[in-house]
């Protein structure tokens, strides 16, 4: 018989296999802990686990504001089993310890597997201060043996497709990840400024998506500085492009123009077509915001030409969507519908539901404008379902759109149309009525767009 000595450390691969097995073989709830040393070490493990686990992974970052993991688990759809990775557990201390210790049975009431990523400190605190919860563990998986230095390129590879396919939980996790990596990189004896700029650019965009614009701007400026220090024009262009997008949001159109033209100039100089396409697309948005529709169309077509040629489908879909918006502004509704259909076809084919939300909602707006109210409810409900499931920031705007549509068509027909799409759930009428009551200047003052 081969007895394992406690001093023997299992390899990371063994631990990944053991955790995967636990998730695969159990049918009901699981509480487990994953021990790690640093964010940089943790991420490749997370990436590998996502590949191997037999159930979809959801991610939740805990914080001083979001301290109770049970709230997150209860909000998940009950039908399908999920594996939820909880990060930054220590940031939710000490309240977290009280919640989980007392509500431990609540974990058993959901079918999901909850994996808590903890440092040694976090693990000890839980074992000492939430002993009832700790005693319910199904396993502890030790990833502290990731000792080898993970070089920046390898780490970047672990990020996979970057920040495009992000629901709110994922964005928050990415913020936590990038912040951690930046802290670690800044504390290094000789920081890699190029890598730092790359991380800061990603963090800035995650902040942007979460509408944390002030933090996004400050981080993008830091990225610009690091990129210049590292002599990395590609990252410099990315930072300029983000600053441009932020300036559009705050209606500083001259500043936006300057940033975006600088981004375009750098990317063109580097013959980096993706950068050119991104800057062109944003220049299109800038022109559109200023009602310069011809100019906007020109930029969108320029970006589309590159995206279609390079097979960048997601970028192309964004272009079609924006062209639809311009056609809609010009009251060319059939043309708008054609562009939206093109956009939606690609987005649905890409297989990540959140990607389609803005176009689904825009279809709703278009139908409502045409007076086709049941169709509008159909589109908004589809967008609502996805946005709610993925906790997307856009959810609130879709709720407003639904409330407005309800007001226009009357509560009875609205409810009937809703039930056509979501038969098992009544519309939250109280919420919609409240939205209508709270609307500043009434429904006419609201621009329903996504």
């Amino acid at each position: 018989m081969e007895a394992e000595s406690p001093s023997q450390v299992r390899s990371v691969a063994d631990e990944i296999a053991a955790l995967s097995l636990l998730i695969r073989e159990t049918d009901s709830s699981v509480i487990a802990f994953a021990l790690y040393r640093s964010v940089a070490d943790r991420e490749p493990v997370v990436a590998a686990l996502k590949e191997q686990l037999s159930v979809p992974v959801r991610e939740c970052v805990l914080s001083a504001e979001h301290r109770n993991p049970i709230d997150y688990l209860r909000a998940l759809p009950v039908g399908d089993r999920r594996c939820v990775f909880f990060y930054d557990v220590e940031a939710a201390f000490p309240e977290f310890l009280g919640y989980v210790n007392i509500q431990r049975e609540s974990f058993a009431s959901v079918p999901h597997a909850a994996i808590f990523w903890v440092t040694e400190y976090g693990f000890r605190e839980i074992g000492t201060k939430a002993p009832d919860f700790w005693a319910w563990r199904s396993g502890v998986f030790d990833f502290r043996s990731v000792r080898e230095r993970v070089e920046p390129p390898a780490l970047s590879a672990a990020f996979g497709g970057g920040f495009e396919f992000a629901d709110r939980g994922d964005l928050e996790r990415r913020v936590s990840l990038y912040e951690g990596l930046i802290r670690e990189q800044q504390a290094a004896d000789s920081p890699d400024y190029g890598f730092l700029a790359r991380l800061q650019n990603r963090l800035a965009w995650a902040y942007f998506e979460l509408t944390r614009h002030r933090e996004a701007e400050s981080t993008a400026r830091q990225a610009l500085e690091c990129a210049q220090r590292a002599g990395d024009p590609a990252e410099e262009a990315t930072a300029e492009s983000t600053l441009g997008a932020l300036a559009i949001e705050s209606a500083q159109f001259d500043a936006a123009d300057a940033h975006l033209r600088r981004a375009l100039e750098i990317s063109s100089g580097l013959a980096q077509e993706t950068g050119v396409a991104t800057a062109s697309h944003r220049l299109g948005i800038l022109a559109q915001e200023q009602q310069q529709f011809d100019e906007a169309e020109k930029w969108y077509h320029q970006a589309l030409e590159i995206s279609e040629r390079l097979g960048l489908e997601r970028y192309a879909a964004s272009g079609y969507h924006q062209l639809g918006r311009i056609a809609e502004e010009r009251q060319r509704f059939d043309e708008a519908e054609k562009w939206y259909r093109q956009a939606l076809e690609i987005k649905e084919r890409l297989g990540h539901p959140p990607l389609a939300v803005d176009t689904l909602a825009q279809f709703g707006v278009l139908s409502r404008t045409r007076g086709q109210f049941p169709d509008a409810v159909h589109w908004f409900c589809r967008a609502f379902g996805i946005a709610a499931e993925y906790k997307m920031p856009v959810l609130k705007r879709i709720e407003v759109d639904l409330a407005l549509t309800m007001q226009l068509m009357g509560e009875g027909p609205f409810t009937a149309a809703w039930r056509e799409v979501i038969p098992n759930q009544d519309p939250p009428m109280g919420l919609f009525r409240k939205i209508l009551r709270d609307l500043p200047g009434g429904p006419g003052g609201l621009r329903a767009s996504v």
């Binding site: 097995l21 009901s28 007392i102 502890v140």
Partner: protein, 413 residues
């Protein structure tokens, strides 16, 4: 698998039957899986309740994972013919982070009204009116006007349901209701007594309340409840069992609590080894039965099962958790059954968890516990009991030892 109380016939089924997160609750589960333990106090509690006429107030305690909920469920089952049992968790009814004796006594009253309604027990209109008036008085500022057809009974049920749901969730309700109840505590006791008598008269059974999960509040809250408010918790004229935190038994004020609640029962752990280190065959057999009642015997090698029992510390949840990991190891190794290697690996995993958890100072303390078989009443030792690295055993006397999976860490230089 666990829900249907079946015996697993393959390893995957065993993994799901051996779920450390699920205590036994239903009659079916208890019949299929319950394993009686030597020195269990539950039989003593049953005899005490059955043979005494006066209402008893009982504290019931045990290590986490020792099976308190399961033993109480078993007790309820055995008393059903003589007692109308109201069993509930304060955690489900009240805010456990903000808990006073007034909340507990009031929750008991509300629970009695709700259970009486659920069971269709006939309560005289005079008593219902009395309770309704009191409930309206204490909740008038927080529960909006109730309009219910069907007379006093329907009105009482609606107002009680509303108050019950608000008491746990709303701080304003708690504060307002507490303020009013504190001035009318004797009225509340009178209502409880009236209702208890009605229930007993109507069912022909005596009343027993089991108030669970008071051991899950923080120690200071529990201490305050049982030390400063013992009179209130003892006042209702029905038998009540309160679960009580094990660690409070090692508090300096415990003897004062004991004076108010002389009936304290400790659920002992199974004791696979005696104090002198010798193996205790009765307990080993009982622990092994926890496995064989949930999974077919061909799924584990006899030596592996014995090793599992010996290394489990005798706490059922620890046994179940290590057994589940052993089954997972067997699946990983593509074996048909659990052998000793799988159990050793599961034990080594458990040891590693404590390796991360225990500080050098705690290890030194644990060495002394292992040597002296006792602990002292201080915070450091209580923390060892809390994380189950040190455990209490009792047969003819009480003694302490370290969890077997921790032992290798203490022997390491």
């Amino acid at each position: 698998m666990l829900e249907h109380a079946e015996i697993a016939q393959d390893l995957r089924g065993a993994i799901n039957s051996l779920d450390p997160e699920r205590p036994l609750k239903t009659d079916k589960q208890l019949e299929a899986y319950f394993v009686p333990r030597p020195f269990s106090p539950v039989e003593d509690v049953r005899i005490l309740l059955q043979d005494t006429q006066s209402p008893q107030k009982i504290l019931f305690t045990g290590h986490r994972g020792s099976g308190k909920s399961t033993e109480l469920a078993w007790l309820t089952r055995s008393l059903r013919e003589q007692f109308f049992v109201i069993q509930y968790s304060v955690k489900d009814r009240l805010n456990i982070f903000d808990l006073t004796h007034l909340d507990i006594v009031l929750s008991l009253a509300l629970e009695m009204v709700e259970r009486a309604r659920e069971e269709g027990i006939e309560v005289s209109e005079r008593v219902q009116e009395h309770i309704l008036k009191f409930t309206k008085d204490i909740s008038q500022e927080v529960v909006s006007e109730v309009t219910a057809g069907g007379g006093v009974s329907a009105e009482l049920n609606v107002i009680v349901a509303k108050l019950s749901s608000k008491l746990g969730a709303e701080e304003v309700t708690r504060t307002s209701v507490r303020e009013k109840v504190s001035h009318r505590l004797s009225d509340l006791f009178e209502n409880i007594d009236l209702l208890a008598r009605e229930i007993e008269k109507s069912t022909g059974r005596r009343l027993l309340a089991i108030v669970e999960d008071l051991d899950k509040t923080d120690l200071e809250t529990t201490k305050k409840l049982f030390y400063e408010n013992a009179v209130s918790l003892s006042a209702p004229r029905l038998s009540v069992i309160y679960t009580f935190p094990m660690a409070l038994r090692h508090d300096n004020d415990f003897m004062q609590i004991r004076a108010s609640f002389p009936r304290l029962y400790v659920l002992p752990n199974f004791m696979p080894r005696n104090r002198d280190g010798g193996e205790n065959e009765d307990c080993i057999d009982a622990l092994q039965a926890i496995f064989t009642k949930r999974a077919a015997p061909h799924l584990i090698d006899a030596n592996a099962l014995r090793r599992l029992a010996l290394s489990s510390s005798g706490i059922p949840r620890e046994f179940v958790a290590i057994a589940q990991t052993s089954c997972l190891e067997a699946r990983k190794a593509e074996r048909e059954f659990v052998d000793e290697t799988c159990v050793e690996t599961a034990i080594a995993n458990r040891t590693r968890e404590y390796d991360v958890l225990l500080t050098p100072e705690q290890r030194e303390l644990l060495k002394k516990v292992r040597e002296n078989k006792r602990i002292t009443n201080d915070k450091d030792h209580r923390s060892l009991l809390h994380n189950l690295s040190a455990l209490e055993y009792r047969n003819s006397g009480v003694w302490y030892d370290v969890h077997p999976v921790v032992a290798p860490l203490l022997d390491r230089e």
